[in-house]
Symmetry: D2
Subunit: 456 residues, 4 copies
């Protein structure tokens, strides 16, 4: 069995330890990054005079052949310790002893940090694209829902009437922030560790700036002990993914509620529901239930990562190997969830008549208070007066607008007139016309800004 170490050892790893120690089942997917990093390293070694041009060519060609074999599945079920050993073993198979020069001046410590950062940068692009896709689906639904009015809720209780478009966009804006955070994380990820050696810098005078350019990084790491032993970029990415899925959980939770029989505001497409094995009538909003729960996975990953790193000294400790299980799980979870949610959102249908039917007159209570304020009543007092009116309506078990004028007048002289001129829910929506409000102009402005933001 090929090993990247072992000269000083008298015994091979015991089976139980090998099971625990081998990372190939997890890190095998880093092979494209490992090849790419190794090809850049070969170039740097050649520039530093460690390899002849001929050796450089043979090594790079060999790595290309290894890449083709891996793309064809040569890594499946491979017995190697990790992806780096796998690649080195295959390279020996391709080009013989010259393969032994590849690792000159390099350590798996700076190698894996480089592979992982390359992998993350690609993953961040994929996530960003999927996020934009979900955002665009929300915007598209919102465009169709501009004229649908439904109750807006706080505390799970009807609060003020709002546009359906507005509610959807309230779930789109967090995605804009998520993309900013992902971009910030990408900026901090694009720092090259290669050339850091095991902990103290490389013994070969490679040109790290050339490596940086060849691998597309933004900067080079300033301290090798830090560069090989830190995983801040992984933690930050997993955090950004957890926060992102928290947003998705809120959207999804709200849509589960809205798809209940009792609310009935949206109807999901068949293709995003499942039935029951027992109850023939069931049509369950599984896509949004699953989208609601997935934040739990990424939160678990985040906790695991930070716990793993707690208290470690600077520099590489084997504990860091665990980082990939958390990172890959978080990225996979997000990339599994977002397309399904986008599909669920894109295909659901709002049910205007149920939204309409749900609107209770109490949603206009603030307008009544504002009406009293317009007549000079201090708001706090107006609030109390309308509160009494609401109480009276409940006592009489009538709609707010149906409180008899004399009863209303007993509370405040202007109330009967205000009640008489209360207007529609749509008019009420237009009354909240500050930027960011639910009035048409604000929602149109939001739509236009978000449509641009999510256009890729």
């Amino acid at each position: 069995m090929h090993q990247m170490w072992g000269g000083r050892f008298s015994a091979a790893p015991e089976e139980s330890f090998s099971q625990l120690n081998r990372s190939l089942p997890v890190d095998h997917r880093l092979w494209p990054q490992d090849i790419r990093g190794s090809k850049a390293w070969v170039r740097a070694l050649a520039q530093a005079g460690i390899l002849t041009p001929g050796e450089e060519q043979m090594l790079r060609d060999g790595l290309d052949r290894v890449a083709r074999r891996l793309a064809d599945g040569a890594g499946t079920g491979a017995p190697d310790e990790d992806v780096h050993t796998l690649v080195e073993r295959l390279l020996y198979e391709e080009i013989g002893d010259l393969a032994g020069k590849l690792h000159t001046g390099r350590s798996r410590n700076d190698q894996v940090a480089t592979d992982l950062r390359l992998w993350c940068l690609t993953a961040l692009e994929q996530v960003d694209r999927e996020l934009a896709g979900l955002g665009a689906a929300l915007v598209a639904q919102a465009e169709k829902g501009m004229d649908l009015i439904l109750p807006g809720y706080t505390h799970g209780q009807q609060a003020q009437p709002v546009r359906w478009a507005y509610v959807l966009l309230a779930h789109a804006w967090p995605l804009v922030r998520d993309r900013e955070r992902l971009a910030d994380a990408a900026r901090r990820t694009a720092v090259l560790p290669l050339g850091s050696g095991a902990l103290a810098g490389s013994g070969v005078p490679v040109d790290r700036d050339l490596l940086r350019e060849e691998l597309g990084f933004r900067a080079i790491s300033p301290n090798a002990l830090d560069a090989t032993g830190e995983r801040d970029f992984v933690v930050e990415i997993v955090f950004a993914l957890a926060l992102l899925l928290m947003h998705v959980s809120r959207l999804a939770g709200e849509l589960v509620t809205y798809s209940s029989t009792e609310f009935g505001f949206v109807r999901l497409a068949d293709g995003y529901c499942t039935g029951s094995s027992l109850m023939p009538q069931k049509r369950n909003p599984d896509v949004f239930e699953l989208a609601r729960v997935k934040v739990a996975r990424t939160l678990g990953d985040l906790v695991g990562l930070l716990t793993a790193l707690k208290g470690l000294p600077a520099g590489y400790s084997k504990d860091l190997q665990e980082d990939k299980a958390f990172l890959f799980d978080a990225v996979d979870t997000v990339l599994l969830t977002l397309p399904a949610v986008r599909g669920g959102v894109a295909t659901m249908e709002p049910v205007a008549e149920r939204m309409n039917a749900a609107l209770q007159r109490g949603l206009l209570a603030t307008d009544l208070a504002d009406g009293l304020v317009a007549q000079g009543v201090p708001f706090r007092e107006a609030h109390v007066l309308v509160g009494r009116l609401v109480q009276e309506a409940e006592r009489l078990r009538v709609d707010l607008a149906a409180v008899p004028p004399e009863a209303a007048r007993a509370i405040h002289g202007s109330l009967p007139a205000l009640l008489a001129s209360l207007g529609s829910f749509a008019e009420s929506v237009e009354r909240r016309a500050t930027p960011g409000g639910s009035a048409r102009a604000s929602v149109l402005a939001q739509l236009s800004e978000l449509a641009a933001a999510f256009r890729a």
Copy 2:
């Protein structure tokens, strides 16, 4: 494609949703439990008069054939939604339309809860066995280490001399508590959900007590809405596993320290170390570094589980499907870690000369204070006096015992004599003779109790 629902649907699941929704990649390993539960269910249906004896026989035979096919890999790469659908589909393949009678009066909600509890009970036994194995390895090392004295530490600083056996046993006792907690969890897991239907009980008058007995449960669940919608047993098991691995992380962390060049108290076997790809001299305590970090995985799983469950209504929600990813990861992590740690502990060798060399005279300061107490000095004052002696020794840069008599006498008249009769580190160990202490008698008693506890 076989489905357990769909009569009322006009469209099949969309691809992105299907990816998110399918649990077979995770829950396929429940097939033995699913078969076992289904066979019991068939018996109960027959007893309730729903199936004829002939149908019962055919269904049970069919399920046995399905089990054999699954054992032979029939589930690999299967396209089904989940393990229950897979089993039902194969049963149709084996016995035709009669398979359609299996699910009478049952729901996947009570079915999966039953499968999962059966799986957990087996997993708990395995974990318990591995824990006992690690405990026995610690006891075996302790038996050999009875006469090795080393510094005992608090705050990472030398505190009082102790036996090597005693330190090892301090890490064995937590495993005893872990096993108690696992047993408590098993007791609460052994409650049968089958017969709960989807949420409200089964429409078929099955004898749940017969099911309980056939499946080896301790009790039957008292409320079907609770039984199908709760995952307390999973949470409790994952918690017990996280706490268990926290104990392992403490043992492992201490052994990483002791295997450093600077401490050098233990030497690991080659079979539990790896080297460096760059530095030829390296011999890293990977087994204990990995054992130190694994608690992070289970803590992440625990957080994920509790977050998943937070705020859900009673009864089954699809969010519950996520439970298995957390549970399986936690159990797998523990079963991967414990055998390797046991091997690492069993094969490591204590290094008596390094332990000996590390013992500093300051470790006997408490004995000095106790000596003053024996002469009537209140302990708090004795503590101050010996503290001054320590300070004096540091000022003079000498060993505590080498403080000149006149300087010691200036602090307290009895100190020179006490210093002269200070005795050995082994004698000091014997002075702490309360039950549970590091003196020989206590450690022997612990050894004997623990040896019995960890004997299979």
Copy 3:
């Protein structure tokens, strides 16, 4: 400033360090336990011949006087490092130099572990009492709600009709399990650390069994290094509290949904709601929103605790000091939440007409399928046929029972007759008569078992 150490130090703690280091602001509430433990220790020292009977009496009297001063507020704003130093300082003030004998053979390490276990045992009793109170409130509501039928839900969708009592009891059973877990935790907490010294046992031959008896513990700790350095009991208690509040979050979340305008199944009492500062009509279910969120606090505490302990060597490290902040926060949170939730549950009113109005005929689909099964149709086929009927009803936009006979017959010949004899929702409930189901007999049995469990 009184200190329990310092003889060997040349400088006092710096201000910034002292701020970080002082635990008195957190641990001051342990004073009753600290006094109690110290009085027992005095007795043990006397029995061991370390104190004369006269000294014993003076020390115990002195401690009583210190207790009275602390009960009168002597600890408020005290400058001491921790509660142990505070008590020792006050004891010096009361009885002079004899106070210096109190700490003979003891360490703050075994002292604080003892104090904390005593505190936990009391806290567990309080929590248990409050849990029983909440359980009793649920039972009382359930007794009144036996005849109220409402939709039962899975996936947030109407599934089968159930009794209101049954739903409430589904939230009561988890509390029974919580109490079992708390009792298990209490059993493991009731182990005496006192007499363990700092790490290696006490240098004084105290009778630990006498201490155990005097302080009401069940057993004595078997290894002093373990006893002073482990906090398993704290972790286990905080876990049990987190799981408990997870249950409360599920109850609360469901009640928030049921108190919405759209569901309207329960109406909270005014005394458990608040209004809005802006919207006069609002009446928010704050008690259940807050009860829903509080699990987050205890989950945070649990994560913090396990993270704090990860990787520490055996024996005391200062990191352990952090345990109390987590423990106290978790206990306080639970003791703040449970009484309010109990009150909210006890005073809410079910709204029978809204429950009734919500019942959709689709809830009887399983009964229809069972009807086909009774005629020999395999259940899986019956499920498909009723699914088609549901689809037909939706296509026609009619109630399930209103599908024209010819259309029903086209699906299956028996369906028209089955539809005609479908019966009431209450009859459907009675059809699920397995133990644990929603039928009257099962619910009555549950009520009686739970009423007994929560009495006391």
Copy 4:
């Protein structure tokens, strides 16, 4: 009792609910922000024509008087529901009924979000200042430690020699990243929610851009439902603090190790240690033990926050009230920890002779392999050969450099000469001269960059 709601209620909050519901004990510290936000709101109301210039003046003066009373302790023990109610009540006391006009067009939902963002911006500045302080202390120590060589570690094992300055700077660079993350968080925090009303925008046409400018925000929130119901900025800040304290835990953990008797690389100042109540010789590195554990608090806070938010619908739910407990705990923890760690770092003293004594010849094994590479041996082969030499040295129980020439030659012909010219540890350090390495030039460059970064 003054309330901001209640007109429609017939009963006051019950005691148990009031205990749970009141946030004043936590949010009272927001009063300066609440006053500041209210004064800006008054101005905006006046500009919108809702208040006359006279009313504006009276309200702003009244708020100033309220601020003075609160600065003098008027909030201590106040019975109010929250800080907003407290301020409004005091304003009524100061200026009478006109106070009732303050809340026109505003909700506590946009108010508290504004207060909280203002508070966070100040807190972020404080944290940033303290971080720079810790960074500067590391740099100052590093400047003194440029010529101290000690073993560098990976896996807790000696790896290659490095400069003490270099190790310290490896812990300083993460703080640079932390400050970037805090700045990113601050940018996203500086978005004004005020003018969002309760959920749908304000009913008063206030100029939100004027509010933004007056309160020093960067932008205005684009959707009121999002603005009042999201706490991303809190989550992001708490995450950044948790990651920051994770870095501190790594620094602290390493220093605890280095301050052990066995390593002995640093000696802490007396003012940052404590002693033992039992063992007179103890001198514990408490400052770094506590600094190691504090990440647990902030990780718990982060988990709590994300769990609290999971699954909530858009807009305000009472669950959000819990945000402040997490945020304040995290900020307080950081502001308590950083000054003490800075002090501990600034005053500790490196112990050159112990660092020197710890250097083992094996640290030069990589140099030997590099020597073979210089002679044309492929690195992988050179690694094996030096590994054999290490093994031989261990077998002979001699220093690597003391392996007899014939034995070395048997492994590879060049080894005796390479061993003879192995050079000093300092020379070895200089051999790793890539940017970011431990060689003098790189460390000087790092020092200069970091000194500038941490200069206030």
